[in-house]
C-alpha cells in the first residue's frame, strides 16, 4: 500500500537508493501521444544531483530506459514501464550507520514498521525515489501540453529570505537561469549566498517552492473528499521533507474578512473570470479556470555534516557522524519534483472530468 498515486492517470514507483534500480509504471496516459524522450531527459537533468555547487556532489546520470507502452514514438494506452539504474552506489558510505538511527530520518520508523530496513542511503525513504516521479511527471506534462496546460514551479523562500512579489509580478521563465531556481535574479543571488554559507557551516536550511498551473479548464475536482486542492496537497505532502501546503490565500487568508477575500465574478467576452483570485483557481474543490497556485514548505535536510546524538538498534546511545554527499538545501532540486506531482494530479483529474456529464459522453 502506498506506492501508487492517481486514479486513472496513475504512477506506481519502486526502488531503493542503493538497490539495483528505481523505476515507475505509468498507467492511463491516453493512447496516441507523441512522446519526446528528450523532454523527459531534460526534466531528469533538472532534478539530478551534482548539477551545481549548492547541491549534493553525488554524480548520478539518472538515465531512463522506457521498457513498454510506447510504439513507433507514440503511447499505446498500455502501461509505460520506466527503469533508472543506480550507477553511483557508494554503499560503503553507509556502513558506519548500518545499525544507527539518524535523527529526523526515517531509519527508526521504517525499522519499527517493517522490523527490517535497507540502511544504505535511506533505502526506500531516500529522496532518490523522486527520480521515478520526475520521469512520470515529464510524460504527464507532455500530455497536458496537448491541452494547453502548463505547470511551472520556482523557489520563493530559503530560510528567512522570502520573495515578496507574487507570481504575476515575476517572469517565471527566469527561474531556470540560476542555480537556485528563483525567478528574481537579485533574490536568487542572496539565496545562493545563504545556501553556500550554510553549507560551509556543515549545516542545512529549509525553503519554499511555489507553483502555478495555467489554462486548466473549469470543472476539475472530485468533491467531497477528492477536492482538487486536497489531491494537490497530498501529492506535495508525499514529497520528501515537505511540512506544509497552502493554496490561494493560504494561511495568510485566515486574517482577511470575507468581504475582501471573496472573488467577484465577471464575464469578459465569452469567458467567466474573477476580479481577484484568493481562491487560487479552485472553489468548492473544483477548478474555476483561473490560475491555480500554491506553496510547499520544505524542512532543512536532516543529514548534516556534524556529530549528533542518537541510539542504535540495540537502544544504546551512539554518535552519528555526518558523511557522504548531501544537499545543504533541497528546494532547488525540488522544483521539478513539485512540477511532476502537480502535472500528474492535473492529468488525472482531467481524465476524470470527461465522465461527469451525460451531455458530453
Amino acid at each position: 500500500m502506498g506506492n501508487t498515486f492517481g486514479k486513472l492517470f496513475k504512477i506506481t514507483t519502486f526502488g531503493e537508493s542503493h538497490g539495483k534500480a528505481l523505476g515507475a509504471i505509468l498507467e492511463g496516459c491516453p493512447a496516441g501521444l507523441e512522446l519526446d524522450e528528450e523532454k523527459i531527459r531534460l526534466e531528469m537533468q533538472r532534478r539530478k544531483p551534482g548539477q551545481s555547487k549548492i547541491t549534493t556532489q553525488r554524480k548520478e546520470e539518472d538515465e531512463i530506459e522506457i521498457l513498454s507502452g510506447v510504439f513507433e514514438g507514440k503511447t499505446t494506452g498500455t502501461p509505460i514501464g520506466i527503469v533508472i539504474r543506480n550507477a553511483d552506489q557508494k554503499s560503503k558510505d553507509y556502513t558506519h550507520i548500518a545499525d544507527k538511527f539518524r535523527p529526523s530520518h526515517a531509519d527508526f520508523t521504517y525499522f519499527e514498521k517493517y522490523g527490517i530496513r535497507d540502511y544504505r542511503g535511506g533505502g526506500r525513504s531516500s529522496a532518490r525515489e523522486t527520480a521515478a516521479r520526475v520521469a512520470g511527471g515529464a510524460i504527464a506534462k507532455q500530455f497536458l501540453a496537448t491541452q494547453g496546460i502548463t505547470v511551472q514551479a520556482y523557489v520563493s523562500q530559503v530560510g528567512e529570505l522570502t520573495l515578496q512579489k507574487n507570481y504575476q509580478e515575476l517572469s517565471l521563465d527566469l527561474a531556470e537561469d540560476n542555480i537556485v531556481r528563483c525567478p528574481d535574479p537579485e533574490m536568487a543571488d542572496q539565496m545562493i549566498s545563504l545556501i553556500d554559507s550554510v553549507r560551509l557551516d556543515r549545516d542545512t536550511i529549509g525553503g519554499v517552492v511555489s507553483c502555478v498551473i495555467k489554462n486548466t479548464p473549469a470543472g476539475l475536482g472530485e468533491p467531497v473528499f477528492d477536492r482538487l486542492h486536497a489531491e494537490l496537497g497530498k501529492a506535495m505532502l508525499s514529497i520528501n521533507a515537505v511540512k506544509g501546503f497552502e493554496y490561494g490565500s493560504g494561511f495568510e487568508g485566515v486574517k482577511m474578512r470575507g468581504s475582501l477575500h471573496n472573488d467577484a465574478i465577471v464575464k469578459e467576452g465569452d469567458k467567466v473570470k474573477t476580479l481577484t483570485n484568493h481562491s487560487g483557481g479552485i472553489q468548492g474543490g473544483i477548478s474555476n479556470g483561473e490560475d491555480i497556485y500554491f506553496r510547499v514548505a520544505f524542512k532543512p535536510v536532516a543529514t548534516i555534516m556534524q556529530d549528533q546524538e542518537s541510539i542504535n538498534e540495540a537502544g544504546e546511545a551512539v554518535t552519528v557522524s555526518g558523511k557522504g554527499r548531501h544537499d545543504p538545501c533541497v528546494v532547488p532540486r525540488a522544483v521539478p519534483i513539485v512540477e511532476a506531482m502537480a502535472a500528474l494530479v492535473i492529468a488525472d483529474y482531467l481524465l476524470l472530468s470527461k465522465t461527469n456529464k451525460l451531455a458530453q459522453l
Copy 2:
C-alpha cells in the same frame, strides 16, 4: 468518484444541504466494538448549528439513525449505515440565488462540472455534508479509544488573534469550556469579541484549528505516496473552507537550520523518545510514537450579509444579496470536524499497519 475516504476503515458520504437527508456508510470498523450512540450524539452536538451566538442561528437537531452494522450494541464488521434527516430546510431562502453564482462559493464550478446544480444551500458543496463525517469520525474515535489513542482539536487563531502557546503549554480540555473552543480563556474572550464584531459588520473572518493526536504506536504510515501526514493533509484539505495544512514545524520550520531542527533520539526506560518534536510525530511519512500535531487554515466564510457583484447562469451581471443564517467564523464548529477526519485517518492506518511484518501475522 470522490465520496469515499480511506482504504480499510472507510467512509462514504451522500446528501445535499436541502435534500431529504444526508448520510454515511462506514466500512471496515473492526467487529466487536461496543458502540456508545450517546457519544456519537455528543459529537454531533459539537458540530451542529445554532449552538451559540457566534455560530449560525439555523436550528438543526442533526439526529442520527444507525440503520445497519450494529447488533445488540456491538459492531458486526459489516457496513454501518447512518442517516441524518434534513429537518430545517428553508429552501425558499435560496430562490433568490437560484440562477446566480455566489462569489467564492462552488456555484459556478459545480455548474461547469455537471451542467446542473442543486442551488439550495449550496447542495452537495455545503458544509452540511460534514455532519456525516462527524458521525463516522465519532465511531472511529471509539475504536481508537480501545487502543488508547486520543484526538483533540482546538481553535488557535481567529483573524489576527493568534494563540502563542503551543499545545503542551495549554490544558486542551479547557477548549470545550467556551463557545469559540480555544483552550486559553483570555484569548477565547478576545476571539469571541472579534467574531461578534465581525458578525455585526455583516462580514466573516478566517481562523486556524490545531490538532493533537496522542499515543499512536510507531509504524503508522504508507510511504511513499500515502505518507501519514500526506493522508492527514488530504483529509483536512477535504474539509470545506480549508486553505492550508502544516504539521510539526510546518512553514516556520523552513527558516531553521538542520542542526536545530533535527530531533535527537534517546531511550528512556523501554521507550524510544525524541528530545524535541519538530517532526510532529512523523518521520519519513511514518509515525514514531511522539505526539502528532498539525494546523489547519480556514478562510473567511464566503456568505456575507452584504451585496456583492456577480453574474448569473446567462452570464448577465447581477447583485447577490446576503440572506439566510450563516456562520461569521467557521472554526468553532470546525473543531469536531477536524477531529473526525483525523480519527478516520488514524483508524485506517492502524489497520493497515497490522499487515506489514511477517513476524506479527
Copy 3:
C-alpha cells in the same frame, strides 16, 4: 472492504436482512440523466419476494426512497443515496437458530471471520442485500438506455431441465410472461412444475440464468486484469448462491478446435462484424461490438424445510429445522439481479472508455 463495486460508476451497499433498512450509494452516474423512479420500482417488483407461488411467500414491498443526488427529476452528478426499509421483519422466526450454524449457509464463516454475527435471516449474508443492487442497477440501466444499450436476462435451466435453444432462437421478451422467467413457454411450464414439486418435497433446486447485452460499442474493457468478462464474472460471482460463470462458448468451447472456434471478421457496410460469435462479444478482454452473452450457475438454496445435522457455537451437535418462508429455487428472482450487476459493469466500463484515446479527449 468489499461493499463497493465499480471504479467510476460505483455502488456501495449496506444493510442486514432484519435490521432497520438496507440501502445503497450510487456514485458516478453522469449528471443530467432524467430519472424515472417508476422504472426503478418495476425492477424492485421483479426481484421482490412473494410475487408468485414458486417464490418465497414473505411479503416485502421493497419501497425505495431516494435521499440525494437527484434534483428536479435529474441526476446532479452527486451520490444517489437510496434507502429500503425492512418492513416484514419476522426476527422471531430465527431465534431457534440463534446459536446454530445452518449447513451451507454463511453462519459459521461470518462467525469465524468477525467473532460475532447478526443471526436474524442471515444478516448481511442474506440475499436480501441484492435489493439494494437492483435499485442501483435500475439507474444504471436508464443510463445505458441513453446510449442504446440493453441488458436482458432469463432462466435457461432449472435442475436438469435445460433450454436447448440459444438466445438468438428465442424471443427474450417472452421471459416476463411467466413466473419462472423462461422465454420458451413450454419449457417454462415444465420448469414451474419441477420447482413446485421440489417445493412440495420441502427441498430446493438450482438453475442457470443467461444474459445478453446488446449494442455495446467496441472498446469496453480494461486489460490485463480488469478484462470486461473478468469484471462481469466477478459481478455475477458476487451474487448469493452463484457457483459458476462462463461467457461466449464457455466450458463447451473447450472441446472445439481453433479452426472452428475462431470468429471470422468481415465488414458489412460501415460496420465490422464477426460471422460467428464464440467470443461472446469480447476479445482480449475488450468488447468488439457483437452481442455479449454469458451464463450464471446458481446452486440449490441452502434453506430446506427439513431437519439437518449441524453444530452450534459451542461446538455441540444439534439439529437445524427448516422454518421461515424461503424460495425453492432462486433463479426466477435472480434474473433482475443478474441484469442489475451486468448494467453496473457496462455503465462503469463505458465511462472508463471515454479516457482511452488522446484523439477523443
Copy 4:
C-alpha cells in the same frame, strides 16, 4: 486502469510481447520473508515456452531480475520490482499481419479502444504478459508457505478428454511428471497424443485446469462484492483465453437438490469440518477451512497454422496466414499461471482478514 490486481498484496504488470521487457511490481508482501530466488526461477521454467514438444517452440529463457524490495535475502516491505527482458523477439514474424486483424485475437479490439496498437506478437494482449504474473505469484506462494497454505493446479481436460476422478482420488504431485501436467498417467498419455495430433492438423484445442488450495484458515473473504470466490473467479478470468470459472459443485451443482448439496457440519476434535464439500471451501463468500477447489476453462488458441479470412485496418477483406511458433493447446503452460493468480488472491485476502476483529488487533 486494469494493470493492477489485489488490495493489499498487489501486483502491477507492464510490458508487451516484443518490447524491451516485461515486468511487475509486487506490493504488500510482508517484510521479513526469506526469498528463495531459485523457487521463482522454477515457476518461470514451468511456464516458459519451448519446454516440450506440445508447447510452442519459441525459445525464451525468461530470466528474472529483482530490482528492489529485497535486502540481504529478505523482503523489506517495500515494493519488489521485477524485470524480464524479451530475448527472442522475432518481430519480423509479425510484419505480415501489421495491419490485419487476426480472427479471435485482440487485434481489432485494441485498435478500436486505443486507435493504435503494437501488432508485434499481440503486444500487450499476448499471453507473454503472464510471465510477470508467475514471477509475482511465486513470491506469493513463498509467503503462503510460511502459513502452511499450498496451491496446486493440474490439467483435468483437453478437448473431450476429461479426467473423471476428482482431486481427492488423485496424487496431484504426479502432474509434474508428464508434459501435459495431468496427474493421471494414462489420461496424460491420451491428452499428449490428442494435442500432438491437433498440432499436426495445424490446429489448436481447448482444455480445463483444475486447482486446489489447502490449509486456508476460515475467515478469508470480503463480502458482499469481494467474496473470495468472486475474486478468484476474476483472477482466473483475467488470464488469456479463459472462458469460464466454477468452484465447488459448479455448473453440475445446479442439477442437485438442496438436501443433497448442503454440507453437514461436524466437529472432529478441535476442528470444525463438513462431511461433504460441495461448497468448495467457501460459504457466503468466506473460506470455511475446507479445501478450496475450482475449474478454469481455456478456449482453443486463436493462432492456427491455417489461412483464415479477415479484414485489415482499412476494412478490406484479407487472408491471414498462420506463421510463427505457437501452442497447439494452452493448458499445460497455464497450470503455473492459475497457481500464481490463486496464490496472489489468497495472500491478499489473508492480509485483509487480519483487520476484521477488534479481538485480534
